[in-house]
């Protein structure tokens, strides 16, 4: 008698809180292997964990050894981390290597985590941007080029190798316990900078909901690009207020002034190339994903902000 083989999945970005949430949801039903370029994390005896640069040859050994069925690529380096060049190497060239190996070793399902930053923050953005909108961020900042390039690569592989079943997810701001991105740092701080006279609409998704979304995507191999965002919206400054942050207004015009302040003070969670997102709304339409994967976020905005209000300086 033969038992059904459990799916083998490679999860990248294992040191991040989101990957760990996804791993916890899938470990009962799947055999997981975790990798991260930053550090080796212990995820239990049942999950092999590696600290590997995707561009090194040893990375291929993992594909040989574990015979993966799927890849969940959450290991995108955030635009606030590392230098532009290292980020390009890891995000673009590293992802290309990952996709090449996936194709070579017959992977049948790939989920790539992108970001809503690819749409770019410009004054003329309509609200409820859908997946077919142009990715304007590449023309706005060289620091966001790697995010767009990563997506372009995934898109090329999506059409060239349909058998890979690639799904690209573009989530709004992922926040919640353990999240270390710039938005989470701002909501969790005592004082947060704002651009005077600008309080753009924003969307936030709780890390648990985002992990649920990724697991739903894993279970249904629908190819394509999908925004992931709840049907709820709040103005940035209102969100800070609800998180108990004191707002520090920076002069907003001319635009070069706040950029200079951010650069001089080295504001890591309010970097010059993301300032547009604190000025103009980038509201994405997550309905296509919600309908296709029957996704319904469970954690309301108030719960998210309540967490930050009571946990200043989170991890």
């Amino acid at each position: 008698m033969t038992t059904k083989r459990r799916p083998h999945i490679l999860v990248t970005g294992a040191a991040g809180a989101l990957a760990q949430q996804v791993i916890n949801r899938l470990r009962k039903t799947c055999d997981l292997v975790a990798v991260d370029f930053r550090e080796q994390v212990y995820l239990g005896d049942d999950i092999p964990s590696y600290c590997i640069d995707f561009n090194k040859r040893v990375f291929e050994d993992l594909f040989r050894r574990y015979e993966f069925d799927g890849v969940i690529h959450l290991g995108r380096i955030l635009s606030s981390q590392l230098t532009r060049m290292r980020r390009y190497n890891a995000n673009v060239l590293g992802t290309q290597k990952l996709l090449d190996l996936s194709q070579k070793y017959g992977i049948r399902r790939i989920i790539v985590l992108s970001t809503y930053h690819v749409y770019g923050a410009v004054a003329y953005n309509p609200a409820l941007i859908d997946e077919s909108a142009p990715l304007k961020s590449v023309g706005l900042s060289a620091d966001l080029v790697d995010s767009v390039e990563l997506e372009n690569l995934a898109n090329i592989y999506l059409w060239r190798y349909p058998e890979l079943n690639i799904t690209i997810l573009r989530p709004c701001n992922i926040v919640g316990p353990g999240v270390r991105n710039s938005m989470s740092s701002l909501l969790g701080s005592e004082r947060a900078p704002v651009l005077a006279g600008f309080s753009p609409m924003m969307q936030f998704i709780h890390i648990d909901d985002m992990a649920d979304a990724i697991v739903l995507a894993w279970h249904k191999p629908t190819k394509g690009v999908f925004n992931v965002a709840p049907q709820d919206w709040v103005a940035y400054q209102h969100a800070l207020k609800l998180c108990g942050c004191k707002r520090i207004p920076l002069p907003s015009i001319p635009p070069v002034v706040p950029k200079m302040i951010s650069r001089v003070l080295n504001l890591r969670s309010f970097p010059p190339y993301l300032l547009g997102f604190f000025k103009y709304p980038v509201i994405i339409d997550g309905r296509a994903f919600a309908n296709e994967f029957e996704f319904m976020p469970k954690r309301p905005l108030k719960e998210i902000f309540y967490y930050y209000k009571n946990n200043k300086k989170p991890v």
Partner: protein, 271 residues
Amino acid sequence: MSLASLLKSRLVPAELAAQIDRIRKPIGSLGYDPWGYNNEAVKYGFSFTRQIYEKYFRVQADGVDNVPAEGPVLIIANHSGQLPLDGLLIGYALASRKDKPRMPRAMIERFFPTVPWLGNLLNEMGAVLGDPVNCAKMLENDEAVIVFPEGIRGSGKLYRDRYQLKRFGNGFMHLAMQYNATIVPVGVVGCEETIPAIANIKPLANVLGVPYVPVALPVIFPAKVHLNFGPPMHFDNTEIPEERVTERVEAVKAEISRLIDKGLSERKRLF
């Protein structure tokens, strides 16, 4: 009682707040919609607009019941008076009507979101960046949308060109056909006299990045405003060449022209 709630009780009468709450909007858990409309901010705006609507411009609105109580609607009007006061007054007329009020959305110039404070304020009051995608998504949400097809050609025109309709874009007709939206034409009379401009300093406008810089007195005159809402118009969504779409647009334009003439003939005096 906190200062905020004290101010609110003074500025926003309870019956007015109830009027806003009666108008159902597809908003999220914190009172916002995707375009930045905010139910609480609207109450202040509504209270302020009531003063200028009733006391300053003494608006006379006829046929406001021609706007259907539900479903997608495009309210098409002539644009005038340098500032978007006409949109504000049409919006208030519809939001304050006794029977089945609606809170319409106004499409605004692309320049406004770049202005600190003002851009956010307009969004909170329901104004939306004038982009076809925004208009389409709002019609999908069964909203009533105020559109000025003349755009800045209309609002920036000089006093000597008053009540002459400028070229209408065809975009609104395509959206109305695609989303099966009812068109309600409106003739606005009086806004032309609020900020009469004798010239436009184009080079300065280019330097400042604004649509126009009018030469006018720095005052808004209290002209009496007449709003005439015409009977609803429906256009089917058959595949037709652009020429036929333009003919349909011209039909709406002619109806607005008729409504303006009606308002001008009804007007007893300028102020």
